[in-house]
Amino acid sequence: MTKVDPILLSVYARTFKSISDEMSMSVQKTTRSPILCEAKDFVTGLYDAEGRMLEQTENLPILAFSLAPVCKYIIEYFDGDIHPGDVIFHNDVFSLGNQNNDVAVYKPIFTDAKLVAWSAVKGHQADIGGNVPGGYNPRATEVWQEALRIPPVKVFEKGKRRKDVWDLIFANIRFDIVEHDLKAQMGACTVGERRIQALITKYGIASYDAHKAALFDATRKMMQAEIRSIPNGTYSGEGMVYFDGHNLGTEFTIRVTIHVEDEKITFDYSETDAQTDGFVNGTYTSSASATVLTLLQMVNPDIPHNEGMVEPFEIIIPEGTILNASYPKATTFGNHLCPPNADAIIRALAPVIPDRVTAGWNNLLCSLTTGIDPGNGEAYVDIGFMGLKGGSGGMNGTDGYDHIGMIDASGGVLDQDYEMFEQQTPHLLHRHEYTIDSAGAGQWRGGLGVETIYTIGSEDTQFVTFGDGDFEPAFGLFGGHDSTLNSIVLTYPDGTEHVPNNKDLIAGVPKGTLYHQFAGGGGGYGDPKKRDTRVLAEEITNGVISAEMAETVYGYKAGQAG
């Protein structure tokens, strides 16, 4: 066993991070779907020969904690039949994928003919086949109505492209940009491969093995220390899901029981409601990712992201529940069960670690739009990121952050630039601003929500809506208030209004229709009457809190600020 040099250990940790970040930059700069390059709906990572996480760059954390499990699955699946120059695609939700649209590219890394590591990029593709362009099909009841399933498949074998396999995949996907974006993901994997090879060539495989094991140990210790700071006990919480896409009025409850025992934490979802008939179902990895990212917000943010970080967690999600649907259920909505899952965890832990939790984050209500741009006759796909992001919850000592929700993204997903939005879609943007009084009131208020209005510029436009944020506002904590609800309203050229359901497909929307969306704020924390009056005075003049609300809710009297 090679001796571990504590200094070299720091060098390895820093280098892994730099490689993963470099892969992320490569994806961002070369992909063509705005979902990837503008919004950064992808994750890059490095894994060891056994598929254990070495480091990740988690632009959208909800995808992040599926990569290592899938890597392990791929290793088992090919059972040694892995060679230099292989490239493997995967999206299958019934072999640990998190969402059909999130297609991962894996590249094995060899030095001296020995498998030493993997580089991988998982990104949300503009289309993945199935019934509906863009992949979100609220009417789906089975996976085949949603997407092309890609279990582990070699698209390159020993450096040679498997033309037949490649063509089979892309013959089943609508937009050609998906093919180019997956090439860009492969390019980023090559970037990771080159640098890992250089690192191992420099220090030797024995040094690499010994130091990565030591890195896992050091990180595990950091996480264990964080868990130890949570009092031992059993804590429970609930979060709500509204409407399965088929039966109006349906409600489902996510129930978590958290056991903390010294340096181990268990999240048990056994009491959670059964799976639904529609696409409102999680997969094990999308749900476990939600659990991990929520907990990560309650611990030291400097802990490195590697296998050691997740080892102290046990996450029990029985198959057949809404968080872990059984084959062949539809699951595309699964990533968006993160907000109610996070609600359940926050509610469970708030009484125990009140200074480390936030109030509720704005829940999701989102739309995906597809159509033909009359300006150039080309198809476009737009996920309305700018419109969907509400406020985060306040916490003791810090206001919520304006316009960064949902919690799945934690502020990692960018708005479309307005001018790029009007280049890439035929729409005309009228408004994208903070909404006055949208923040949940509190001594520490929630983050502000936003209002978005634009005119649809294409005929026969198709909308898909998804989310839960029109039923339950972000909740306040410890005397803080709830925030405002989300909403989407379409006003057709003839003046009629249409309020879609929160999981809906609206076809044939004509040009000239007005799209109007509110994303609500985050929940407030603590008694609003204790809010700093100088801050309130500033917020009133800036028009983010109204004089009326300041008076009635915050107990503020004009001229009171010192």
């Binding site: 992909t31 954390p61 210790k221 917000q297 700018m386 952050y401 280049q423």
Partner: protein, 703 residues
């Protein structure tokens, strides 16, 4: 005589070139409240130190050119002391500046708050009027709305106004109409019109850059007035030029209206200077690194300094062409600490100048990089800053023992060596950012080392990255000031031109380029540059259809004249492949032009370095003693010779390992390297056995 003046946080650096004599380096303490005081004080001190001494007026009056680099705009932004600003923008979109596209850079940190916007919401005013994506007017500009905004600004004492409208890149008429009203109503206000400063697509980038320009515009204008008045009083009647973030210089008149061009100009002189030292060895490219007290900067020069089209300052986007300088928090003051998982980390927290490292005896308690360097023997406790500061080595040892060695269960020396190696690795990662991440192989670039702490660490950086050649200029401690005299006048222009490459309207493209050329030529003419010294380079920002990010590349003038789209497309594929490891086969996907850029350069005459006279003595005569020093290659201490840098000259050769001490820097020649002095009197460190890399002009003359 020409003078480069670089105002830094602690010192103001001067570099004076004279016909027929060696250049002169000078440093004086900065005066942050009014940096122009230190400039004039320095002039006075230089005049007195000349042989024969001159009066201030006599000296200043004989300066043809002063090139000035200033950080007043940077500091005003970082300390939030900019002008009281107002913003007029498109109705419904006034929050874009504050939202910053809805990002939280630290995703898992719920204590991380948004940066305070440069213009508060109450002074961001939306007005009616709309241009569509093709430049057509959809709604006329409502001048009454603009007037109401102006009235509010008047009432609240606004000093600086920004105008930025949606899609103005495609049609600036609304912006111009609003600007005319502002000029009529508030003639004294500082005004920035987005499309005057940055007529290119991307609303957030443009509004942020525009707001930054207004925020610091009045500050820079005021400072330049003070400087010119002080210089005038001191007898200066030559040309004053101001350093820009793009590595070029400009007249104070142009700087007034384009204040944002100075925002990241602090280190911008370095790359141009670096190239001069590399050229002595037949190279037209180099890597320039500068390690100071708190930060480490790395930049790449490939024929000319490598540019990027945007950057950011304090999390505000600044979308103006600038040198691609990467900064990390690694310097002599970087503090060593053990994280919760037991890993040794260095920085980014810095002990700064006050309290400084423990060895400064200023009540610092956390061990810094400088403390480790002292324990490792790289610094001479009795010859720091030429002996002006006596260093407390026992204090350093104690702090390292307590904070690093004991927790890690190792000796003080091993802990110090660890701190040194971690900081070197951090810097090597910083160099990777400007090389490997941008598709360049660092091994092909000689490393030019600047800054007081740089030459102690550069061998280890080279070991990490397998760089075989490094050059430590004699003037390394004032490299940016040197670079100011090596910089040309420079203006970067951009016009958005969205079209498919090949089927685009060549005539319209010509018009854009001609338009930029005439504007740039007029600026250069005003700055006194003869037409024959003006050079223009055209660049395109292109992308594969529907990519979101563009690749900038130089387009040959003749390809445009010959209407040769294939040649342009090939250049694009090559650059894309170099940057990102792949390109899409020709014809597979159409290529789109997004922006056309023009780089206008007004060439200035450059000073010469060194005297070119070879040393006659043996290098051994410069040995002033020996010291026990840590050798990273063997992970052990060894006694090595210490040379007096002042007594080393062109032609001298030293075998590593060795230490070279100068007043402003110490150089560590590690065991894997040897050192020669070249015709510029620079210290050239090369991998043992790689003498072939050193200019043939000095080989064979070594003693």
């Amino acid at each position: 005589m020409k003078l480069g003046v670089d105002v830094g946080g602690t010192f103001t650096d001067f570099f004076l070139t004279r016909d027929g004599s060696a250049p002169l380096i000078f440093k004086t303490l900065s005066t942050p409240d009014d940096p122009s005081i230190a400039v004039v004080k320095g002039l006075h001190e230089i005049a007195e130190s000349l042989d024969p001494a001159m009066s201030l007026e006599e000296f200043t009056g004989s300066l043809e050119t002063i090139v000035h680099g200033t950080t007043v705009t940077t500091n005003a932004t970082l300390t939030r002391r900019g002008a009281k600003s107002g913003l007029i923008t498109t109705m419904g979109l006034r929050d874009a500046l504050e939202m910053r596209r809805g990002i939280r850079e630290e995703q898992y940190n719920n204590r991380y708050t948004n940066v305070v916007p440069l213009v508060p919401r109450r002074r961001r005013i939306g007005v009616e009027g709309r241009i569509d994506r093709d430049g057509n007017e959809i709604t006329a500009l409502n001048l009454e709305d603009v007037k109401a905004a102006i009235d509010q600004f008047k009432a609240s004492g606004v000093e600086a106004i920004s105008i930025c409208f949606m899609n103005a890149f495609a049609n600036p008429h609304h912006e111009q109409a609003a600007a005319n009203l502002v000029r009529a109503e508030m003639p004294d206000a500082y005004l920035t019109v987005s499309t005057d400063l940055l007529p290119s697509i991307r609303f957030y980038e443009r509004i942020s850059t525009t707001a930054l320009n207004s925020y610091i515009g009045p500050i820079l204008a005021h400072y330049l007035d003070q400087l010119r008045s002080r210089l005038g009083d001191a007898g200066f009647n030559g040309t004053l030029l101001i350093m820009q973030s793009n590595g070029g210089v400009m007249s104070p008149e142009i700087a007034r209206d384009h204040a944002a061009l100075t925002l990241l100009s602090g280190p911008a002189g370095g790359p141009a200077a670096g190239l001069v030292y590399a050229e002595a060895h037949g190279q037209n490219k180099c890597l320039v690194v500068d390690m100071g007290g708190t930060s480490f900067e790395a930049a790449l020069v490939d024929e000319s300094p490598v540019m990027v089209n945007e950057g950011s300052i304090d999390r505000h986007k600044l979308a103006l062409p600038m040198l691609g300088i990467h900064t990390i928090g690694a310097g002599g003051g970087s503090i060593g600490w053990i994280d919760k998982g037991g890993l040794l980390r260095m920085g980014p927290q810095s002990a700064g100048a006050d309290p400084g490292p423990v060895c400064y005896r200023k009540s610092g308690v956390d061990p810094a990089c400088t403390d480790a360097n002292l324990v490792l023997g790289y610094l001479n406790p009795d010859f720091f800053a030429g002996g002006q500061i006596s260093l407390d080595i026992e204090g350093s040892r104690k702090a390292i023992e307590e904070k690093i060695a004991k927790p890690l269960g190792m000796s003080v020396e091993a802990a110090a060596a660890g701190m040194y190696r971690v900081v070197c690795n951090n810097m090597a990662q910083g160099v990777r950012e400007v090389t490997i991440k941008r598709g360049f192989d660092p091994r092909e670039f000689p490393l030019i080392v600047a800054g007081g702490a740089g030459p102690i660490h550069s061998c280890q950086i080279c070991n990490e990255l397998e760089i075989p050649l490094q050059i430590v200029p004699r003037e390394s401690s004032v490299l940016c000031a040197v670079g100011m005299l090596m910089s040309d006048l420079r203006h970067d222009m951009v016009r958005t031109f969205v079209a498919r490459l090949g089927t685009h309207d060549w005539g319209a493209l010509d018009d854009r380029i001609t338009d930029m050329k005439s504007a740039a030529a007029a600026m250069l003419k005003d700055e006194g540059i003869a037409a024959k010294d003006c050079k223009f380079h055209v660049k395109f920002d292109c992308r594969y259809l529907k990519q979101y990010h563009e690749v900038s590349f130089v387009v040959d003038d003749t390809a445009i004249k010959a209407r040769d789209a294939t040649k342009i497309e090939t250049a694009f594929h090559e650059e894309h492949n170099r940057l990102y490891g792949y390109s899409l086969d020709s014809g597979e996907v159409p290529v789109e032009i997004i922006n056309v850029r023009l780089q206008a350069v007004g060439e200035t005459s450059k000073p010469k370095m060194g005297t070119g006279e070879k040393a006659t003595s043996d290098a051994a005569t410069a040995i002033k003693g020996s010291r026990r020093v840590y050798i990273p290659e063997t992970d052990a201490f060894a006694d090595i010779s210490v040379y007096d840098g002042a007594r080393l000259h062109f032609g001298h050769k030293i075998e590593g390992p060795a230490m070279i001490e100068q007043v402003t820097t110490a150089i560590f020649v590690s065991a894997g390297f040897d050192c020669m002095l070249d015709a510029n009197d620079s210290f050239v460190l090369y991998l043992k056995g790689r003498e072939d890399l050193v200019s043939s002009g000095i080989k064979g003359s070594a003693k």
